[in-house]
């Protein structure tokens, strides 16, 4: 009896370890919003990832004789001034832009979580120092930073990511800090302190899980706006180096041809919108899935 009890105990312990996570995944999939979001985003990501395997034209291959074709059966997204296939450029740009968006979101999320938690949790001098530094960066024109980064490290995807992330990070830190301050005063923190829970435990078991949802939502906004910011940087000549396409530099390249070739910049622009919408839906879904309150 005793033995078998121990056995079931151990079994159930190992099962329950995974169960909650599995459940939130299930919940995520049950939410209608997040399903729509995923249904949009996943194919996009898949297409971006699988681009080399798809029967697409070379995104760099020019053909001056086939310039400025409107969208047609042959060229779904039309061609640009120098005859490159816009469909394959958009897909290839999608890849770059998704990398930019997701990496920036990841950096701000991680940085915000770590630094913001430290700042909010410990308060005092550490907090003041972190806030002062983030103030400096907030009140510093991001453009100059972008120029400096690009100038120092050379144009390319990494400086672009760095430039956008540096500008967004202070905001993420502030958000996390304010969330932490809110959570810190909740009773369950007292309950944990009552048994001398170490700082690490308080931070990672209690605080971060409760701030994750709003942080994820803000990260999804950051991801979409990073893709857009890259377009602005492209306009200033600081974006992804051509001919490597990004949604941003395709839009920028197409802008002068708005009248002769509306499709060049409009279609990738719509792509950004679609990504943003799907991220929005997904993050809403994630927030709901992470919140046990949402479903009884």
């Amino acid at each position: 009896m005793d033995n078998s009890m121990e056995g079931t105990l151990r079994q159930s312990a190992s099962v329950t370890l995974k169960l909650p996570r599995f459940r939130s995944l299930l919940r995520l999939l049950r939410g209608r919003q997040s399903l729509i979001g995923l249904a949009i985003l996943l194919p996009l990501v898949a297409v971006a990832l699988l681009a080399p395997l798809l029967p697409l034209a070379d995104p760099l291959q020019t053909n001056v004789k086939a310039g400025m074709h409107a969208p047609s059966a042959e060229y779904w997204f039309g061609t640009d001034k120098i005859g490159r296939d816009q469909l394959s450029r958009t897909i290839s740009g999608l890849q770059t832009s998704l990398i930019v968006g997701f990496t920036v979101a990841l950096i701000t999320l991680a940085g915000g979580l770590i630094v913001g938690t430290i700042s909010g949790f410990f308060g005092g001098r550490v907090d003041r120092l972190i806030m002062a530094i983030s103030d400096i960066f907030l009140s510093f024109p991001s453009l100059l930073l972008a120029i400096a980064l690009v100038a120092i490290f050379g144009a390319g995807i990494l400086p672009v990511i760095a430039a956008i992330a540096v500008a967004d990070l202070p905001r993420a830190i502030r958000l996390q800090r304010s969330l932490v301050l809110g959570i810190k005063s909740r009773t369950f923190i007292d309950a944990a302190r009552m048994v001398s829970a170490p700082t690490r435990w308080l931070m990672f078991r209690h605080i971060v899980p409760n701030t994750l949802a709003p942080m994820l939502v803000s990260a999804s906004i950051v991801a979409a706006s990073a893709i857009l910011t890259e377009a602005s940087l492209s306009f200033l000549g600081l974006g992804i180096t051509p001919p490597e396409p990004s949604l941003g530099n395709i839009i920028k390249d197409g802008q002068p041809y708005l009248r002769e070739g509306w499709w060049i910049s409009t279609l990738p622009g719509l792509m950004i919108f679609v990504i943003a919408i799907s991220l929005h839906l997904l993050s809403d879904g994630i927030r709901e899935a992470l919140d046990p309150r949402s479903k009884r």
């Binding site: 909650p20 009773t187 007292d190 001398s196 209690h206 409760n210 046990p292």
Partner: protein, 682 residues
């Protein structure tokens, strides 16, 4: 009085909440009538649809609520047929409303004047000047001192009691014929609560307006109401005069409800009666009587059909197939549970020992001039402000004993609890737990002490991390303290949850998936995890329903007796404290004003504050209430940042003399088992 004219007539009202997860039938066929000048109390479990019903009368049911059918006639006009514009005339005009939480029911960024004046101007069509004159007048009427000054205040500048008075003033402002009051005193202190109830009663007498009063507190019903409607699962299950309901309840639910509360006469029961089971899920259709599942007297008929409200006397009706409810059925059981506890109460007076041990025992907890002062950080132009939350407490507690701590809001009860747990460091004094002064322990030593004292929090929900399962919540102390192997911990967790009477299947749930009572059980299980010798319970039941409250209190008593734990029980519900405690400490503004054996203190309070407190607490018995001469405390609790000179209570004390205003009376022994801090303690 022409009281018999029907003012409000509700006919088969149905209000549903069309949620994504099904339709909640919150109000499920309610009919009743209210005559002019009548005071009707609506009681019932949380979630039984009381507020939904009241809001339906105003047609202010929040999304996704819909009034599905029925009629609400006010002086013959069917409110459900009125346009929004006509309704807005009625709302605040003919019908005044007082809501539960005065802290949140007033717009925080508008002055009292703005809020009152806009209502008055809207309904009485006065100009600004007249309206503000009337506003001042109203404030004076509800007993707010310096109304001319106060009217310019923002809500946050007023105390809870004053805010509730403002709300009442608003409700009165346009000479309503009916006042809806949804738990108007629940958020208030006993003394203030008594003032407010008195005020409402006066108003109903002087203005002759009818009142519909929703409450959980049967004591208030007894003190205030003329008629009572008992709601259960969206229906009225019993309706009658207050005397009828208390003296001869007919519905088993009413009967149970009346017995879940500690008795008014101070006879101590071993256990409180508890209503087991849960209210039905109002999303599902209920085939029979909605109470059948929890009703000991239920018959097969109850499962089959739903009983209608049938008259039991001219003024009394109940919805139950079994006439007399469970009156006959549990005559026996009642007798046994109401049997007074043999001797211990009296015996305890002899000294700090349990009946079964002959030896005097060392106190498990001793507080010696314990102090906690909160100082606001001084800034450039502002002086340091010191809040003396706890200002010198000396008490002791023996193993297996329960210490009840009572006192009004802000008197330092919670701060004391936090000090005991060392969630705060005391400013001064010592806390001796099992002989060790823990007041200033640090690091490893503090850690070792942690298992000795644990806490049960007031609001179980906010004391749990919503992202953690019950298993991790209960297991957290074990985990953090690194007790045993994972297997042993799992075993202990299972033990614990079974100890508090829950099934192990709950371990994988999240806090939000439990009811209030279950949550508090989990809170207790967590507190027990490290086998503490003291449990501090800070208002462990005030967030709970009456019926659930009994379960939790029974559980605590049972655990105390079984495990020999000492309990520090903080509450402002005097009847519960009286039921559970061996000793009692009455606190006022950071000081203990009276300390002694619980029964003695309740029977013969010596400090004027204790007396006032006991007076203010209503007794759930209309008969007794009528006989009682209540002396209400005047005024508000002073701020602990700026306490009065001399005796802290001197500003409100009927006996206060000049000496009291200058000199602080010490907590001196009066008799052999009592300490009182009053020069005039009798």
């Amino acid at each position: 009085m022409s009281n018999d004219e029907v003012l409000l007539s509700v006919e088969d009202l149905h209000t549903h909440f069309l949620t994504e997860r099904g339709t909640v039938r919150a109000v499920n066929g309610v009919s009743f009538q209210l005559r002019q000048g009548e005071r009707l109390a609506i009681v019932g479990e949380s979630g039984s649809g009381k507020s939904a019903m009241a809001m339906s009368l105003l047609q202010l049911v929040s999304h996704p609520g819909k009034i599905v059918s029925g009629s609400v006639r006010l002086e013959g006009r069917d409110l459900l047929r009125l346009s929004e514009r006509q309704l807005n005339e009625l709302r605040g005009g003919t019908i005044g409303t007082v809501f539960q939480d005065p802290m949140t029911s007033l717009d925080p960024v508008m002055t009292i004047e703005d809020q009152l004046v806009s209502t008055i101007r809207r309904h009485l069509r006065l100009d600004r000047r007249q309206a503000s004159r009337r506003a001042v007048e109203l404030l004076r009427q509800v007993g707010i001192p310096d109304p001319e000054l106060r009217v310019r205040s923002y809500p946050f500048e007023l105390s809870g009691g004053m805010r509730q008075r403002v709300l009442i003033a608003m409700a009165l402002s346009c000479d309503p014929k009916l006042i809806l009051a949804d738990e108007p005193t629940t958020a208030l202190d006993v003394t203030i609560q008594a003032q407010i109830i008195e005020l409402l009663q006066q108003i109903s007498v002087t203005t002759g307006c009818a009142m519909l009063f929703i409450t959980h507190d049967l004591g208030l019903v007894a003190r205030f109401a003329q008629k009572v409607a008992v709601m259960y699962a969206g229906r009225i299950v019993e309706f009658g005069t207050v005397e009828e309901i208390f003296a001869s309840p007919q519905h088993p639910y009413t009967q149970s409800l009346l017995r879940t509360i500690p008795s008014a006469d101070g006879v101590r029961m071993k256990r409180l009666l508890q209503i087991d089971g849960f209210p039905p899920d109002m999303r599902l259709p209920i085939p029979g009587c909605s109470f059948a599942k929890r009703c000991p007297a239920a018959t097969s008929a109850c499962e089959a059909g739903s009983p209608e409200l049938t008259p039991r006397s001219a003024t009394h009706s109940a919805a139950c197939f079994v006439s007399g409810g469970m009156a006959q059925l549990n005559a026996l059981e009642t007798a046994s549970s109401r049997e007074p506890e043999p001797a211990p109460v009296a015996a305890a007076a002899a000294g700090p020992e349990r009946p079964d041990s002959g030896e005097p025992v060392r106190p498990v907890l001793e507080l010696r001039s314990l102090k906690k002062h909160f100082a606001s950080a001084p800034s450039f132009l502002k002086k340091r402000r010191v809040v003396r939350a706890v200002d010198g407490i000396d008490i002791s507690l023996h193993p297996g004993e329960t210490l009840g701590v009572v006192g009004e809001s802000g008197c330092g009860k919670s701060t004391m609890a936090r000090l005991l747990l060392r969630l705060e460091e005391p400013s001064d004094g010592s806390i001796i737990v099992e002989g060790v002064d823990i007041a200033h322990l640090k690091g490893e030593q503090l850690r070792a002490f942690r298992s000795k004292v644990q806490m049960v929090f007031q609001d179980p929900y906010s004391s749990f991390n919503p992202k953690m399962t019950i298993r991790s919540i209960i297991g957290e102390p074990l985990h953090v303290m690194k007790v045993g192997t994972p297997e042993e911990r799992e075993k202990r967790i299972r033990e614990l949850i079974m100890t508090v009477g829950l099934d192990i299947s709950y371990l994988d749930r999240y806090p939000n998936q439990l009811s209030g009572g279950q949550r508090q059980r989990i809170g207790i299980a967590r507190a027990l995890a490290l086998s503490p010798s003291i449990i501090v319970a800070d208002e462990p039941t005030s967030a709970l329903d009456v019926s659930v409250r009994a379960q939790v209190i029974n559980l605590l008593v049972e655990l105390r007796d079984r495990l020999g734990i000492s309990i520090v029980f903080i509450s402002h519900d005097l009847s519960v404290v009286r039921h559970i405690s061996d000793k009692i400490a009455v606190m006022y503004l950071g000081k203990v004003v009276e300390f002694g054996l619980s029964e003695e203190v309740f029977r013969h309070p010596k400090h004027p504050y204790t007396k006032a407190l006991l007076d203010a607490a209503p007794i759930p018995d209309p008969q007794l209430e009528k006989q009682r001469g209540i002396e209400l405390l005047k005024g508000e609790l002073p701020s602990p940042a700026n306490p009065p000179q001399g005796c802290r209570f001197s500003t409100r004390c009927p006996l206060a003399s000049d000496r009291c205003r200058e000199e602080m009376p010490p907590l001196d022994p009066v008799g052999d088992s009592r300490q009182v801090a009053c020069f005039y303690a009798s």
